[in-house]
């Protein structure tokens, strides 16, 4: 059988079957379509403007390693005019982060981007190892999620950037759409497919890989010979998310477009106006200044629970009530430093440029 020619350039020999479309294409065309689709995602959503300072949330895992590479490539190719930074969070899990942080440090050299590593220890006074030692291995992912999200924002504020990009890919988003429907999380369902989230006064946060298949990210890393570390959370992962992911993989095997079709669905509906009106509005945490839907943000609640030896406090409402019933928080509690937005984002109403 003669070698197949690439379905895109009709010239070179096809060496791979594209997971997203099933087309048989050559390596160069694969790089081209992969990068161009990310570029289309960025331009269609007007994610950046020239001169923006953008932090890439870098974990050393495949998504963020490829993201750093693609962001640098596109920034140069299309003259986005962005100033790129790497921002890494060190959760303080012995033996788990060390290798991936090395990857990030190497990226800093290769891509010539400034790197900021922010540790849980320096921010919250607690490493994940210490948290696990106190509360055991259950419910840890609650800490992971809440602490990491806030840590990224705080790191971004320290770097004085306008924007954080993360490596969330199409599989992550499709899975989240399904989970939010099945769990009835209407607030998250409404926003989980938006490429960019920004509250009243938060740092813009976006997902340039929202249409990139996980398989293609791996393929890209493979052909570009980028090295990365697998960054599965070693503490109790979310069982429900595991079910959703397995289901998504089955759907993808039945019809590869399923991932993109789910994202399309998620973008084609929104929460009804009358339902939206009943949702909680955002405020800022009275203790640390971070955005929150309650008086105390989730991170502060979790932290207070840890400090007072009632670690499950923010995990269940009942535990939170117990915490409240136990009296006011003692004054000597370790707390998170007060959150300050980067200068450019303060008083957002005044940044409008005159005509």
């Amino acid at each position: 059988m003669p070698p197949r020619t690439c379905a895109l350039c009709n010239d070179a020999r096809a060496i791979l079957k594209r997971p997203k479309t099933g087309q048989q294409i050559c390596k160069e065309c694969f790089f081209y379509v992969f990068e161009t689709e990310v570029h289309n995602t960025i331009t269609e959503a007007n994610l950046f403007k020239s001169g923006d300072r953008v932090a890439i949330g870098a974990s050393g895992g495949k998504d963020s390693t490829v993201l750093a590479h693609v962001m640098k490539t596109l920034n140069e190719r299309y003259s986005y005019g962005l100033e790129l930074f790497l921002l890494s969070i060190d959760e303080g899990i012995t033996g788990y982060r060390d290798d991936s942080l090395e990857t990030v440090k190497r990226n800093q050299q290769q891509y010539d981007m400034p790197l900021k590593i922010l540790s849980y220890d320096e921010l919250y006074g607690w490493t994940m190892d210490a948290i696990v030692a106190q509360i055991g291995k259950k419910n840890n992912c609650t800490f992971c999620g809440v602490f990491r999200r806030q840590a990224l924002d705080r790191g971004a504020a320290i770097l004085n950037v306008d924007h954080i990009v993360t490596g969330h890919n199409a599989d992550d988003i499709a899975e989240t759409v399904l989970m939010n429907i099945m769990r009835g999380d209407i607030a998250r369902l409404g926003r989980c497919t938006s490429i960019c989230t920004q509250g009243e006064d938060t740092i813009r946060r976006s997902k340039p890989f929202k249409y990139a298949y996980e398989k293609e990210i791996v393929m890209y890393a493979y052909f570009k010979k980028l090295d990365y570390f697998s960054t599965e959370c070693i503490y109790s992962p979310d069982a429900y998310r595991g079910h959703a992911r397995a289901f998504l993989k089955d759907l993808e095997a039945a019809r590869p477009s399923a991932i993109i079709d789910i994202i399309h669905s998620g973008e084609a509906f929104e929460v009804r106006e009358d339902v939206k009106a009943t949702q909680k509005s955002q405020q800022t945490c009275k203790r640390c200044g971070y955005m929150s839907s309650n008086e105390l943000c989730k991170a502060c609640t979790l932290l207070e629970g840890l400090e007072r030896g009632m670690a499950t406090a923010a995990v269940t409402d009942r535990a939170r009530q117990k915490l409240d019933a136990d009296g006011p928080s003692p004054g000597n509690l370790r707390t998170i430093p007060f959150f300050q937005l980067p200068a450019s984002l303060q008083n957002p109403t005044t940044v409008e440029t005159p005509p």
């Binding site: 099933g22 331009t43 009835g184 209407i186 669905s265 009804r272």
Partner: protein, 494 residues
Amino acid sequence: MLSTASLSNIRIVSYCLAHIQFLRNCFFPLTTHKFRRALEPNVNPKPDGPRKTALKPAGNLLVGFSGGLGSSVLVDLVHRCYVSLDKSTMPTEGGRDHPRHERVWKKITVCYIEVCDVFPGMTDKTEAVANLVSRYDELELVALRIRDAFDPSWWERVRGKPAFSEIGVSLADQALFMESLSHFRQDPLAALHTYFSSLPTPTAVHTSIQTLTRVLLLYTALHTGSSHLILGTSLTSLAVSLISGVAQGSGFNVREEMLEEWSPDPGVTEVPELWPEDGKRAQKLKRTVRIVRPLRDIGMKECAAWAWWSHIPVVGKEKWLWPGAKPGIGTLTKDFILGLEQDYPSTVSTIVRTCAKLQPKGEVDGKCILCGRPSQRGVQEWKARISIRSQPPPPPSAQRPLPIVEESPDHASLTPYLCYPCHTTLTSRSARPVSSPWPNTTQPSVVSLPMWTEARLSTTNKALAESNDEEVVRQRKLEQGEMKGIVDQFLLED
């Protein structure tokens, strides 16, 4: 002392019996209440909340019957509540003269669509269905076959207008080019086999059966003067179809999956566009068919209990399978949701409750020519942007003139007339080899389209020839060349 072992056993047994009796006594009124609560606010032309006033539908009632558990229970409920006026199903409030105690529907028709023609070796259950329906007086049965979708005589029977030319589509090509069928029209069964053996995935086979069935029911409703089409979708099956729909890209139609108002496209049917004068209403109403799922609050287990206690001989539905078929998205979703429901018992009701809080986002761009549901504007641009499928332009040095896109109707594409999920159904391929239900069918380059699609394409093409307005813009919007243009504008210059 009476506390001997045997006595306490008797006590337990009699307690259980009493308890079952109690459950049973509550079960029927509760289930009937859920049925009425889901259907009756949607009976009057202007839907409203819980009501005490009279139910006055604009037309008759059509019950979609699949032979399965849900639709068997539905037929039984309809008969009790609206034909035999079973006292136990009546709401207690309002007394004897309550308006609900009158006849609501002038005529009730049950429509069964036999799908056995799609699968080799599947039994025809039409007779069993006829026997079941004949148990209920005053319910009339209309039995169709899924091949009727390709049958001009069925189309004529429901007063559809004949197509000007016979148009087919090439399913082998992602571009979905349309061609006029030069050969004589295939007989409906052959056309059905060709259509189904040309579909790219098992998912597409299942979804196409559902789409054809739904539209056959809608035209039957129109023809029988029905303003309402009700389906036996239980809470459980609704949750499954919502998730399965989301996984096939039909997020824009989440609302239609729960409650849908349909009217035929102008010019494809002889059925008048307005309901006849009613005398009580000030003006004539636009003729529509409202699809309601009155079992949407009743789970599969409750349906089974209803069928058991009411001695309904459920005909049953065979699995939609053929040799070598891998499970499609519908089957995978069903297995997944039923499994999840065991570990997280409120899953199905949460799914339905969540989806009820959603509304479509973005503009409507007409109705899909295949399924008749509203389609979202801009879906092809969206697809082209995020999954690049065509060749990058040659480098500037080797610039050749772009090929001129043929304007002849023979090379028009079906794509711009399709909604996202239907386009995906016809074009999205599997990574693994797919076995066809009819492997020995010779694969012609062009397959016939359902009668309503052909008729609508005819009216569109005629409009295209006669006028120069919006319809033309719509027709031309996504020629291949233009789709490529959308892609090209993002391409890098080397």
